[in-house]
Symmetry: D2
Subunit: 381 residues, 4 copies
């Protein structure tokens, strides 16, 4: 029963001190389609082996370098089926290119690359390789985000007129990057992170969620970026006006100095006859507010939801699913896409799974936001 | 016991079809310091008498014209002590000026006037008359708005860095002004409303609340206004970036085409060490979110609140107060100010009660927002 | 235009230290149909005059004794039209009887009397007098309680199967009655309060709300009462099983030692196909949960509500109304009932306004709960 | 690096149509310490193989019978380290006994057995075998349940006086067991389920949560059970009064006919100076309400939480964890206990992991509730 063989995953990054490594492992393996079998978890051979041991990986397959991993794994009969990239941003492009050139599909942390130019380069590499490339815009994996997307696609709100998306965190309210905090350190360093601070780290999530759910594209924006914490080298608080390709307009805001907020990602979309509201911290509910009848709460896993939303539920309604489950939905879809690709499908990625196109748009968004900020005015997307 | 005599109020506007007339009456009379005894409720003598009868007013004191009311009342020994203006905006200035010139203090619906120029004219008239002038920015009367103001004033959040205020309604999602709806009709007519649509009607509330609570002033703004409903003559959806006089920055948004929203006024203020959040539709709670300790919910009428917040509670904690009670707080303070003025106090208005200064700033805000919109960029306040 | 004359109210009790006096005054006068003109606010003549002065009442009409007030007022041409009773419970019966015997209608704080036997005596007196008698079960005045009642009456939930009502407060978590706190003192004294502590003070509210909304009657109950705070003479925490007259069953709980709760009155009613939930601290929303479709939130003052609910709204949807407004709805209905009675209507009280029948049932509830507690088992109602 | 070897799990039950099989698999494997390698998923050999294939299991290790699995696996060098029981209740005892007698540790779905007598028999078997036995009272695995337990244990609320726990579902509002629904069918059949319906299925969860968090024991109870849906053979709606071993008292309620509820498990515990509230459908927050200071919201994964609560967090605060993660916490602790047991620890189960004692108490609770119901009165526990 060969269809039951799990896909073999190799991870780059995600080693000691990175919370995202275990998250990728849990998410990838959750639905029983993937197993983590190899990794270049750290640039130190010893730390990579340590991380591998914690993941229960054969020490032979805990590499000190991604190139080494790619070389060694492609020679094994039981070599990895794909790699996941969980490193600081500046390594995304070289790793992804190396994998693609070696014929290995890629699942990547967002943002796709460190700069927009790199994203274009990566896009070309993905096209040339003809291999599946997925991007872990985690929030796209929530059942109620899928439902919100279905509500918009079905036109239930009428024509969309107004949008408001915000992503507020408080964890960088102080100069955390100066205290030895690894996550904060690389994210605040233009060389490793790229030029966008909060706009890149979380603004891209908000941007993706907005387009993903609304089915619209941002056509123009006017962004203002701030560096609030003294000495910080990248933006930590951003506000933008956006115009969508159908004429709707609104705001996109993100901040990592919103003291007291943990992970407040809030999306609101207003149509002619009603609106929807989704909050990441209360992810199993979708508020749908009608102009002329009672407000509704849609609950995850309920029988009345769209097929897309029901398809991703693992437990009955009333049993909360969260961030890891959303992440795992993307991995499940990526695994299915890999199966499809192996069977020769030309375009195996389902429309619900973010790929290189979303990656390029995200990097374009950062680039456009910075351009707009510099000009103090509107720019076309 | 002369101190017990109720102040006599005369109302202009607020007649048939206006929900705001009864609201003013209830709010004014709630704390037992004021009674409505006269009115020019409508420009039709008959309809004014009808409205007066519903209010239980002597038919002799139900006037067809505010000038007539002012003339007649000043001749009575038991004439009105002040007037309240509850008309469409274009009448605010002439009525207020007439009253002030006749020596009658004024309590006015916001916005203070129809245009910024008028506001300056009114300000001069108020100064010249030396009479109390109050402005019913209702939300300033909520206990938990007072508490939020006290939290900011005490510096509990650390230096304020970021602000976000929004006021979303959906009632103008369709062309209501073309259906005979009186409220919508005059608000959509530049001649009666002034040049600002949503920005004037509710944006000014958001603006006032922001300055009132934070203790800061808007120093610059970049606003974009839209007319979403086809055929509408005034803006119905607005977004603005704001910069505060201490360097903090953020957003101010308002909309009357946010389908499904009823009266979503939400204020968030972020300091170095924490933030606060207040929603008008859940007015008896104030959320205070700390960076390093548990989030707190402050409840109205609780013993641990600031003196300012406790002073306005009428019922024990857990018994909700609402919009009418907030409105009534302003009337109570206005009544106390009138008493102070009668006793010769020079500056009788307490700092908690919005007056002409707030009125001028509000009109300036509309004017600046329109200027910014025209320029598509930042303007100093 | 005599129909516009306000009804003249005389208050008994509600003097210094009682928060309920001003609450009655505000609620009674809110809708412009009633004015407070006389009172026996305290048994001390001086304190009664002081209270009267604060209410702006003619000192001649601030009496030291309710009998004196009744005698004096019935001789005046402009004497009071009704009295409101806002005293400790043990005085409810003698005051009400004296008023009724003098031909004066009565609006009374709940509970109707101090004991069940007194309630029967009062019922006889009300019947004999043929005068309007109202009971201020405040929560019955909330718009969304009216809506919940309409939802049940229309059978929208299917047959009702299960009920759960609870009323939790924390203010008596300590021995407040020993500290000079007036409210706590008389409520903890069997001689002034009657035999039911929490069960009488707030259990009766829960009981009334349950029957009022469901349209059902409690047919049997099994109650257990506790005195949690050492030295307390009356129950302060109670739980009961209830069986309704249609076979539905559930629980009724109340407590005044639920530390941390302010005024948590929560009603849930479950039918065959859905359920409703209403919380007094969030009174402008009614949750309606369906078995097979999205949960709904009904908002106060919305156009889709029942006529009964819309009838009591004073401000547009999204502008919160609270406890005082609910209280005032009962006064408005009482005023209308008085008008009807003056015009000779036999049964002027509308079914939405609690009267003597509700009063007797409430006292019966206390008596039955104590009987059940003594027997440690079920009793028929 | 032998410490990294994953524990090998064999599952009994959880085959086609059972949502709980995949849930156990996901939860067991989530933290990388366990892998599912064998199973007797169904009593049909073919269906067991099908289920095994979906789980990616070697067809040789997909057994048709648990006895067969136990025999075969103990002969393998790489045989299973423990079994998990995910069958209807009546099979729990024979499977657990067979495993224990074969020297195989057991992780079991709750309730431990079908009857109290069986629970005692199982307890003896566990004691005799001296093997780890865990019980998946899932809710005990939530971080904020751990925090609530820590708050109580630290005495922060003062002496506990009052408790209220409820677990309301609506999925059995109709006669679902007559429609071919497998879950409903066995749960409504006394032969497969045992004598307790809702009281056994979810009442035991409520009971366990109450004791687990409060640190107290139920000392007496008075329960009333109903069969609401006509034709149903087991209780579907239950209410109970409880008395705790410290003198505190309160209620325990459960229902599966609460139409419109999904999985409303709510725990409230009241002490002298404050209270806590936790809802399973909003699991990442713990409300802590103080009598004299602002209410607090504790957030999962926050730095200020107790060590016990922080220990179970997998993602940063603000990233929701849910039901599967809570389940997985129990598996993680079970895996650690197994490691401890292999190293010769006498009592390897941590106090946070429910074991046979909790299993026996749960079955005792059902038995006592039925006894109380039959007597219509209180019973000692």
């Amino acid at each position: 029963m060969t269809e039951a063989r799990k896909l073999r995953m190799g991870m780059v990054g995600g080693g000691p001190g990175a919370f995202i490594g275990p998250v990728h492992r849990i998410a990838a393996e959750m639905d029983g389609k993937i197993e983590l079998l190899a990794g270049a978890f750290s640039q130190s051979a010893e730390r990579s082996r340590e991380a591998g041991a914690r993941f229960g990986i054969d020490p032979m397959r805990a590499y000190a370098d991604y190139r080494q991993m790619i070389d060694a794994e492609r020679k094994r009969r039981d070599g990895i089926d794909f790699i996941v990239i969980a490193t600081p941003n500046h390594l995304h492009l070289p790793i992804a290119k190396a994998a693609l050139e070696a014929g290995i599909p890629v699942m990547s942390d967002k943002p796709a690359t460190a700069t927009y130019e790199e994203a274009l380069e990566l896009e070309a590499a993905v096209r040339k390789a003809g291999l599946p490339y997925g991007l872990t815009h985690t929030y796209a994996g929530y059942a109620m985000v899928r439902e919100a997307r279905a509500v918009c696609a079905a036109g239930k709100l009428g024509a969309i007129r107004k949008v408001a998306v915000e992503y507020f965190q408080g964890w960088l309210s102080g100069p955390l990057e100066t205290t030895g905090h690894k996550q904060a350190a690389w994210r605040s360093d233009p060389a490793r992170n790229g030029p966008g601070g909060a706009i890149g780290d979380i603004g891209t999530h908000a941007f993706h969620l907005l387009e993903y759910v609304s089915g619209l594209k941002v056509a123009a924006l006017n962004a203002t970026l701030r560096r609030v914490v003294p000495g910080r080298r990248l933006d930590d608080d951003c506000n933008a006006f956006v115009r969508m390709n159908n004429g709707a307009a609104g705001t996109l805001a993100c901040s990592q100095v919103a003291a007291g907020e943990r992970n407040e990602l809030l999306l609101r979309i207003y149509g002619e006859s009603g609106s929807l509201e989704w909050q990441q911290q209360d992810p199993n509910r979708l508020m749908v507010k009608w102009q002329d009848r009672p407000e509704e709460i849609y609950h995850a896993a309920a029988g009345y939801l769209s097929e897309d939303a029901r398809a991703v539920a693992r437990v009955p309604s009333g049993h909360p699913e969260g961030y890891l489950e959303a992440f795992a939905v993307l991995y499940r879809e990526f695994a299915e896409a890999l199966d499809g690709w192996k069977q020769g499908h030309a375009n195996p990625l389902p429309p619900t799974l973010p790929g290189i196109e979303a990656g390029v748009r995200g990097m374009r968004f950062i680039e456009r936001a910075m351009e707009s900020h510099g000009r103090e005015g509107w720019v076309e997307f």
